[in-house]
Amino acid sequence: MGGLARRVSYTERFRERLAQIPSLLADTGYFLTDERSAHGELRPDVAAKDAWVAKAYDQFPVDVVNLSSRDLKYFSRFLSKPEFDTRAAASPLLRKLVSANTVAASANMVSPQPFVVREVPVRHGNGAAAVLRVAFVGLTETETAPPSGFKFTDPVDAAKHAVPEARKRADLVIVLGNLKPENATRIAREAPGIDVMIVTNSQSNGAIFTPPAQGDKTLILFTSFETRMLGELRFYRDPQGKFSTVSRYITLDDAVPDHLAAKQLTVSAAQVETNTRDASKKLLEDWLAASRMRKSSRSVESDMSAGSGPAYVGVNTCARCHRDQYLRWSVSSHARATDRLPPRQTEFDASCLKCHATGWREPTAGSAELPGLQSVQCEQCHGPGAEHASKPARGYGRITDIKAACSACHRSDTTPGFDLQVAWAKIKH
């Protein structure tokens, strides 16, 4: 059930058949995948999939989207000041994201707007204003750690600030929440002025439908589990201007035909996800095979001429003179840094080799050379050694700031709990 193709079919048919009823499409959030790599980054296949979801929301436009803490990981890269306007011109979705409790923590980042106001033509004017103004306020749970450059504030406090502002500018105030039901009820009670809250149903434990609730004067509705049923909230207004509603849940089963273009996009997105995953596995397998071959069948001297820039010679060359250091290294985790990669094939990308191999060079235009040496060898910290190996002299590769050298890879996100003193004691040489 559910799915983009059926959803688009329904909303398009609604607009055709019921053209006199203005309609808006809203998403309460957690609409992207949030599966992370071992170091907390979005996996490459997941990032590719999320990009297609964003594309779908532009191609089949959604009017407003609540940016949940789960979705921020993907969008944070697009919310930097230098790039935002350019990005938003290409993807209108960026200006449709709302969150009242997600805030930029750095001057370089853009805070999502706390709410947006959409205007629809009034069907039965009754001499009143010609448009109906509907404010959508976004709120998210804060259980997921925010990405760099952002912070979450308390959703209740944020609602207390945003709702009165929205109320001033709109006839109806709707909160879109990625919230636990108990928090939704609390917000409805403590932030007066909300007509309706529509809340993501992530806490339902698989129940397809969660009944509406009431928080003080606020109607609280829940999305159907994974949107297997599309929600539809119809508003009616009596001659005194009072609203009543019907909340409808439309089952998106196979009686709702697929919208062809949307189905095509869905198939393409799945293909890109699969291809990205396969490419990750292949890249890793190819690299392991090539670097194994180099280790076993090629002399390290032959690596000296490989690629551009200073050449790497490999640990065996170092060991000819630095035997004690080699022995110490050979029993360390650095000597097995590549071993950790194979079990996580689907999340592999070339940047893993920055810290799990030796000889990484930042890719430049026309150059995507991968490091040739497995694991973290001498030259990963001390630099390429070809010149030193050919003309040995004191002073090569001396590290003056150990903390800076180690923290290039051992950061809080990659190595939680990393203790420099303890780690250094293990490899001191």
Binding site: Q20, F31, F209, R228, Y236, K242
Partner: protein
Amino acid sequence: MRNKTTLKRVQLAIILGAVAVCSYVLPLHIGASIGYGQVTNRLEFVGVGVPLDKSTGPDDGAVLAVHFMGDTHGNLDTCG
């Protein structure tokens, strides 16, 4: 596969039926006057197997319809 789909449909129909009955019998539904514009709410389900032209329902004089979704976790395809 067909049996599994049929079973799921029956399960869904039972759930929707139970919820619909509850919403009329129990006071959990939003029958009371609520909201800052004194909103009253009624609940409706469009169950399995309803053709698209019927599922949209008639033009009943609504001044606005807000379609809502969420919790899709990056999934564009059908599931369940």
